[in-house]
C-alpha cells in the first residue's frame, strides 16, 4: 500500500462483518430455510438428449409414489416462452420455452417439473416419467454450427448466428496496410462452468389471501427476477417479493434469471402449495450457464519499433442453445471486442464478432466474461511480437501502454479511461516479482523447466444505464439505489439495491457511508437482497457494486450528513458550513463545541426539547439513485512463474505477483480477498478446468470428479501491492475490481508456460494447457540448448 494507513473508516483493513456468521455455520442458505407446511419438493426432469423431438410424455408411472405429481408444458399452457434477445440490429429474436413441448435443444433442457412430498420421493418419481424422444443430429461446436448445411438450432437464426457486430474504425485499412509487421494467431478458450459452492435453488410461495407471491432464490439479481416473474406471469410488481438469502457464491452464474425460478412460482400458484427446488451439482453442471467457449482470431500490425499500428480481430462465442435473461446472447460476443483494447494506445481497430447457437447449455456471464480470453489473445500476441522483433516483453509493453499524458482517453472501442497508472504498475510488478533475477532461477532445478510471464490487463467496471442501452440490454436498468435511514439512536440502516454473495457489501458499504456520517461502520447495518426492503436496482454483477451502488451510498450519506449538519448548526448556534461529523459527534471546527450524533438524530425525530430548524423536515431518511455516467477501468499487472516437470509435464505455479490499481481502496483486506479468489478462478481454466461434450452433445463432465477444480494445494502464495490512483469519474474515487484477478491469471499463466517452452520452439494458444500436451512438446521438440 502507498502512503500511511488511513485515519477514517474508508480505506481501513476492517474484518468483514459477515464472516463470524459464515464461519460459525450460522448463515442461512436457501436449503437452510425452514419450508412452510405443505411444501412440495421439485425435481426438474431434464432432456438426456442434446437435440430431440418429444413424441410423448407418459407420467402415469408416478402414481406409485404417494403424493407425487408431474407438470408438463401442457399443464401450463398460458406460460409464454422467454425472448432473451430484443428486436434490435444485430440480434436474431429467438424463443426459449420454459418447459419444452415439442423439441429439446440441450442436455439439461427442462421437460417437466416433478413434485413430491420430499426431494427423495421427487427423484424416485422423476425416474418413472417416460418421455419418448426422437433424437436429432446435434450441433455441438462452433465449427459445426457455422459449417455449410449445418442445420439450425433456431428457425429464426438459420445460420445459427444469434448476435453479430462488425466495426472498422476510420483509416484502419490504410494503417494496417502500411505497417511493416503483421502477426497472426487464433486463441481458443476452454468452456468452463462457474461452480459456485451452492448450486442454484429457490422456494416459491403464494398466499392467495394476501395475493402475495414470494420467491426465495439463490440469485445475484432479485429485482431482475421480480421483473421477469411479472413480465412472464403477468403479475403486479407490488404483489411479488423476491428474497436472496445467504448466497453461496455467484460469480455471474446467478446473475441470470432461469426457467426454474419462473416455473417454481407458476407451479406454486397453480397448485396452491409452496414449491421448493434445491438444485444439485448435476443440475448445476447441466443447466447453470457455461462460459468462455470462445475463440479470438487476431491480426496485429506493428511498426518497426514494436508500436501498435492497427489490430483486427474475429471473435466467436458459443452461446449454447438459448440466450440468457437479462444478458441475451451477446454477453460474450459483445464483451470480447469491447474489452480487448486493454491498457494499450492504438486507434485503428477492426472487429467482427458473432454469438453462435449450438445444442449445448446456454452460455452466460462468468467472472471477467470474455475478458480473460481477450487478454490471453492480446498478451499472447504481444509476447509473440516481442520475440519476433527482438524486444523484451516488458519493453514492447512499455512502448504501447497508455501514459499519464494520454488521459482522459477514449479507446478504440469507445470506452473512456479517466486516469490510470499503467507504467508505474508495470515497473512495480517487475520489481515485486524479481523479474530481472529470473535468469538465476530459470535452471535452478534440473528436473524442471521454468518460465516467467507477464500480463497487463484492464477491467471495465461500474457500468451504468447508458452502457446497457448501448449494448441493447434493455432489461438491465443499470442504475442502483441506496436508502439510508439514521434512527434516533444515531445508528443507521443502509438498504442497498444489490445483494451480496461474498463480496463483503455489508462491510464495504458501511465504511463508505461512515466516512460521511461520522459514526463507526459498526453502527451501520447494511440490508440487501430483498425487493421489499431494498430500493430498486439492477443487482450484483460486472464489478459494479462499489461504483454504481457505492455512488448511491455516498450520495445518500452526503444528503443525510448535510441535514445532520443543518440540525447540529441549529443546536449549536453555528453555521452548518463549520460543522464536521466525526467520532460520533457533530462539532464546530476549531471551537471544541459539539453535540453527539445521537443528540442530532433524536432532534430530527422530535425527541428532544429543541426542534428541527424552521422549514426543515423531520427524520434522517433518504433514498438516492445513482447512474454511473462512464465505466471505470481498473488495471493490473500480473507476473507468474511456472515450472514444468520434465518427467510428467505437470505445471506448478511457483510464484505469483500482482500490482493492482483500482482507485481508492475502501477495504484492502476485502480487495485482496477478491483478487486472490479471482486468480484461482483463472488458474483453473488455464491449467485444468474444461467442460467436455461428446460428438452427440452429451456433457461428459458432470461431477467434481471429472470437472477438476484447483484445490488450495494448486494455488501459489500471491504477492500483491496496490497503487491508488483516485478515479475521476466516480463517486469516492473508487473503481470496481472483483474480476481483474481472473482476467490477468489466464493470460499470465499462458505467457509463463510459453516462456518455459521457448527453447522448444512451441507456442501454445489454447487452454487449458494440459500436462499431456506439454510432455509431448518437451519430448518431441528437444529444442535449442542456449534456451
Amino acid at each position: 500500500m502507498d502512503g500511511p494507513a488511513p485515519a477514517g473508516p474508508f480505506g481501513a483493513r476492517l474484518p468483514r462483518k459477515e464472516d463470524p456468521r459464515l464461519l460459525r455455520g450460522e448463515a442461512r442458505f436457501l436449503d437452510d430455510i425452514e419450508v412452510p407446511p405443505g411444501t412440495l419438493h421439485a425435481v426438474f426432469l431434464r432432456s438426456p438428449h442434446a437435440h430431440a423431438r418429444i413424441l410423448g410424455i407418459d407420467a402415469s408411472g408416478v402414481r406409485d409414489i404417494p403424493g407425487a405429481l408431474v407438470l408438463t408444458a401442457a399443464d401450463l399452457p398460458q406460460l409464454p416462452p422467454l425472448r432473451p434477445d430484443l428486436p434490435l440490429p444485430g440480434f436474431a429474436v429467438t424463443e426459449r420455452p420454459l418447459l419444452c413441448r415439442d423439441l429439446v435443444r440441450f442436455v439439461g433442457d427442462c421437460v417437466a417439473i416433478v413434485l413430491a412430498e420430499d426431494a427423495y420421493a421427487a427423484e424416485d418419481a422423476a425416474e418413472l416419467v417416460a418421455v419418448d424422444y426422437e433424437p436429432l443430429p446435434a450441433i455441438v461446436t462452433l465449427e459445426q454450427a457455422l459449417a455449410e448445411g449445418a442445420g439450425s438450432v433456431h428457425r429464426e437464426a438459420p445460420d445459427n448466428v444469434l448476435f453479430r457486430n462488425q466495426v472498422t474504425t476510420e483509416g484502419f485499412d490504410a494503417a494496417f496496410a502500411a505497417a511493416p509487421h503483421v502477426f497472426r494467431e487464433t486463441f481458443v478458450g476452454s468452456r468452463v462452468a462457474t461452480v459456485s459452492l451452492e448450486p442454484r435453488g429457490c422456494l416459491a410461495r403464494h398466499d392467495p389471501g394476501l395475493d402475495e407471491t414470494v420467491l426465495w432464490s439463490s440469485t445475484q439479481v432479485p429485482h431482475l427476477v421480480r421483473n421477469m416473474l411479472c413480465e412472464v406471469l403477468g403479475l403486479a410488481d407490488t404483489a411479488v417479493r423476491v428474497i436472496a438469502p445467504d448466497v453461496g457464491g455467484g460469480f455471474g452464474v446467478k446473475a441470470s434469471v432461469y426457467p426454474e425460478e419462473i416455473l417454481a412460482i407458476a407451479a406454486a400458484r397453480l397448485l396452491g402449495r409452496p414449491v421448493k427446488w434445491a438444485g444439485d451439482r448435476q443440475d448445476d453442471f447441466l443447466s447453470s450457464s457455461h462460459a468462455r467457449d470462445m475463440r479470438f482470431g487476431v491480426e496485429m500490425a506493428m511498426d518497426a519499433d514494436g508500436v501498435l499500428a492497427a489490430i483486427r480481430i474475429d471473435v466467436l462465442a458459443n452461446a449454447g442453445a438459448y440466450g440468457g435473461i437479462p444478458f441475451g446472447s451477446s454477453i460474450e460476443a459483445g464483451g470480447g471486442p469491447r474489452t480487448f483494447p486493454g491498457p494499450y494506445r492504438f486507434r485503428h481497430y477492426a472487429f467482427r464478432t458473432r454469438a453462435v447457437a449450438t445444442h449445448t447449455t446456454p452460455s452466460g456471464p462468468y467472472r471477467g466474461v470474455a475478458a480473460p480470453i481477450a487478454f490471453m489473445a492480446f498478451e499472447g500476441m504481444m509476447d509473440r511480437a516481442a520475440a519476433a522483433l527482438g524486444l523484451t516483453r516488458e519493453e514492447i509493453r512499455r512502448r504501447n501502454l497508455l501514459d499519464t499524458a494520454d488521459f482522459p482517453f477514449v479507446n478504440a472501442s469507445g470506452i473512456r479511461y479517466d486516469i490510470a497508472s499503467h507504467h508505474r504498475t508495470l515497473t512495480k510488478a517487475l520489481a515485486l516479482s524479481e523479474w530481472e533475477d529470473f535468469v538465476l532461477r530459470r535452471d535452478a532445478d534440473p528436473d524442471k523447466i521454468r518460465g516467467i510471464g507477464i500480463a497487463c490487463v484492464t477491467e471495465q467496471t461500474g457500468q451504468g444505464s447508458t452502457r446497457y442501452r448501448a449494448r441493447g440490454l434493455l432489461r438491465i436498468p443499470g442504475i442502483e439505489a441506496a436508502r439510508l435511514k439514521m434512527e434516533p439512536s444515531g445508528r443507521a440502516t443502509l438498504a442497498v439495491s444489490q445483494t451480496t454473495q461474498g463480496q463483503g457489501h455489508l462491510t464495504t458499504f458501511a465504511q463508505m457511508a461512515a466516512e460521511h456520517l461520522g459514526i463507526p461502520p459498526a453502527h451501520i447495518t447494511v440490508l440487501e437482497g430483498d425487493t421489499a426492503v431494498s430500493p430498486f436496482g439492477s443487482g450484483t454483477f460486472a464489478s459494479r457494486s462499489v461504483v454504481a451502488a457505492g455512488g448511491a451510498v455516498i450520495t445518500a450519506a452526503e444528503v443525510i450528513a448535510k441535514k445532520m449538519k443543518r440540525i447540529a448548526g441549529h443546536l449549536l448556534e453555528a453555521d452548518e458550513a463549520d460543522i464536521v461529523l466525526r467520532d460520533g459527534r457533530a462539532e464546530v471546527v476549531g471551537t471544541g463545541l459539539s453535540v453527539t450524533i445521537e443528540e442530532v438524530a433524536r432532534t430530527a425525530y422530535a425527541m428532544r426539547p429543541k426542534g428541527v430548524p424552521p422549514g426543515e423536515s423531520f427524520g434522517l431518511d433518504t433514498t438516492e439513485y445513482w447512474d454511473q455516467p462512464f465505466s471505470s477501468v481498473s488495471a493490473a499487472v500480473h507476473v507468474a512463474e511456472v515450472s514444468i516437470e520434465k518427467a510428467t509435464g505437470r505445471v506448478k505455479v511457483e510464484r505469483y505477483s500482482i500490482v493492482h490499481d483500482c482507485g481508492r481502496v475502501v477495504n484492502p483486506m476485502i480487495v485482496d480477498g477478491q483478487v486472490h479468489g479471482a486468480v484461482v478462478q483463472g488458474l483453473g481454466p488455464a491449467l485444468m478446468e474444461r467442460l467436455v461434450h461428446d460428438e452427440h452433445g452429451q456433457l461428459l463432465t458432470t461431477t467434481l470428479l471429472d470437472y477438476t477444480l484447483p484445490t488450495a494445494l494448486d494455488v501459489p502464495d500471491i504477492a500483491m501491492e496496490h497503487i491508488e490512483t483516485p478515479a475521476l469519474d466516480t463517486k469516492g474515487g473508487v473503481k470496481g475490481m472483483a474480476e481483474g484477478g481472473t482476467i490477468g491469471a489466464i493470460p499470465v499463466l499462458l505467457s509463463a508456460i510459453n516462456d518455459a517452452l521457448r527453447p522448444h520452439g512451441a507456442w501454445i494458444h489454447a487452454i487449458p494447457v494440459r500436462a499431456e500436451q506439454l510432455l509431448r512438446i518437451i519430448r518431441t521438440q528437444p529444442g535449442t540448448p542456449e534456451g
Binding site: 534440473p446 528436473d447 510428467t648 467436455v692 500436462a771 509431448r776
Partner: protein, 291 residues
C-alpha cells in the same frame, strides 16, 4: 442426487452381518466408510435394496502383526492404517501410499477394507496390496476363505467377492529386513485421483544389487497391475539408471493403459515410465539419473 429407497441394517457382529448378507444376497451391499458407496447411491448408479452397515460391527478394526503377517481389519480407517506403528514397521509402503488416498476428511472415514473391496482403478491401497502380495480374507455365513489380492481383483470395480461375502481382513506378509519402498503418483491436480502411480518394494542384496523387487502400477491397465517384467529384468542386477529405464520401458510397452478424459494411453505410459524409474531408483537408494 438422492439415493433410491433402501433398508439399513446395522449388525453388531461378523456372524450377524454374514447372516444378513446371506438373507438379502439378491440385492445387498456392505456399507463401510461410505466414501465411494454414497456417491454411487446418490447418483443412482448402485441400487441395493439393503445396506449392511458395518460401522457398529465389532472386531473389524484391529491392526496388528502376528506370525510375520500384518493383519488389517477391514473397518480400520485409512488414517488409522496410515499412522499405525505396526504398518510403519511391517509395510511402510502402505503408509506412504495412503497419504495420497484422497483428502484427510475422506481418509478419516474411508476404510482399508472398503478401498480393497471397491477395487477402483486409481486406488493406492489396491496397488500396494498387489505389490506386497497381500491376501484378502472373505467371510460368509458358516465359513471364510482367503485369496491372493492378484486373484481377488477381477476388473475395474469388480472383485471375486460374492454378494453374500464380506471382506474381514487384509493380510500383508511383513517385508524382509532391509527392504526399501517408494510410492509415486500423479494426478491432474496436486492432490487428486491417481492418473498414474507406482509402488515399489526393493530388497537389496549384500553386494548392493537387487535381491528382490516388486513393482505395481496404477494407470497401466484397467486395474492396478504388477509389472512382473520389470521385476524379472532387474532381479540380481544393479539399479543403474539406463538399465532401469530400459526395463520399465519394455514392461510398459506390453501394457494397455486406458484412454479417458484425464489422459490418453500414450501419456499415461510416458508418465509411468518417469515415475517407475524415479521410484525404483529411490528405493534402490541410487543417485538420480542425469536429466
Amino acid at each position: 442426487m438422492k439415493p433410491p429407497p433402501f433398508r439399513h441394517l446395522a449388525p453388531r457382529s461378523i456372524e450377524e452381518a454374514c447372516d444378513m448378507l446371506a438373507e438379502h444376497a439378491d440385492s445387498v451391499r456392505v456399507l463401510a466408510g461410505g466414501q465411494s458407496l454414497m456417491a454411487l447411491l446418490v447418483m443412482r448408479m448402485a441400487r441395493p435394496a439393503v445396506l449392511v452397515d458395518l460401522n457398529r460391527c465389532a472386531g473389524l478394526d484391529d491392526i496388528a502383526v502376528e506370525g510375520g503377517v500384518l493383519r488389517l481389519g477391514a473397518m480400520a480407517r485409512q488414517i488409522a492404517v496410515q499412522r499405525a506403528p505396526a504398518v510403519a514397521q511391517a509395510a511402510p509402503l502402505l503408509a506412504e501410499a495412503l497419504h495420497w488416498a484422497g483428502p484427510r476428511a475422506v481418509r478419516n472415514r474411508g476404510t482399508i477394507g472398503g478401498s480393497i473391496a471397491h477395487a477402483d482403478p486409481s486406488s493406492e491401497a489396491c496397488c500396494v496390496a498387489l505389490c506386497l502380495d497381500a491376501r484378502v480374507v472373505l467371510a460368509r455365513r458358516g465359513g471364510s476363505r482367503e485369496m491372493a489380492a492378484r486373484d481377488f481383483f477381477r476388473d475395474a470395480l469388480v472383485t471375486a467377492a460374492e454378494p453374500e461375502e464380506m471382506v474381514t481382513e487384509i493380510r500383508i506378509p511383513v517385508l524382509p529386513p532391509g527392504t526399501r519402498c517408494a510410492f509415486e503418483e500423479v494426478g491432474v491436480r496436486q492432490a487428486d485421483l491417481a492418473m498414474a502411480g507406482i509402488a515399489v518394494a526393493l530388497t537389496p542384496a549384500p553386494d548392493g544389487g537387487i535381491a528382490a523387487l516388486r513393482v505395481a502400477a496404477i494407470g497401466a491397465g484397467g486395474l492396478p497391475l504388477r509389472l512382473d517384467a520389470v521385476e524379472g529384468a532387474l532381479r540380481g542386477r544393479r539399479a543403474e539408471p539406463g538399465l532401469v529405464r530400459d526395463a520399465v520401458r519394455a514392461a510398459l510397452a506390453e501394457c494397455e493403459p486406458p484412454s479417458d478424459l484425464v489422459a490418453s494411453a500414450a501419456h499415461r505410459r510416458a508418465v509411468l515410465e518417469g515415475l517407475a524409474e524415479r521410484a525404483i531408483l529411490r528405493a534402490a537408494g541410487a543417485e538420480r539419473a542425469a536429466a
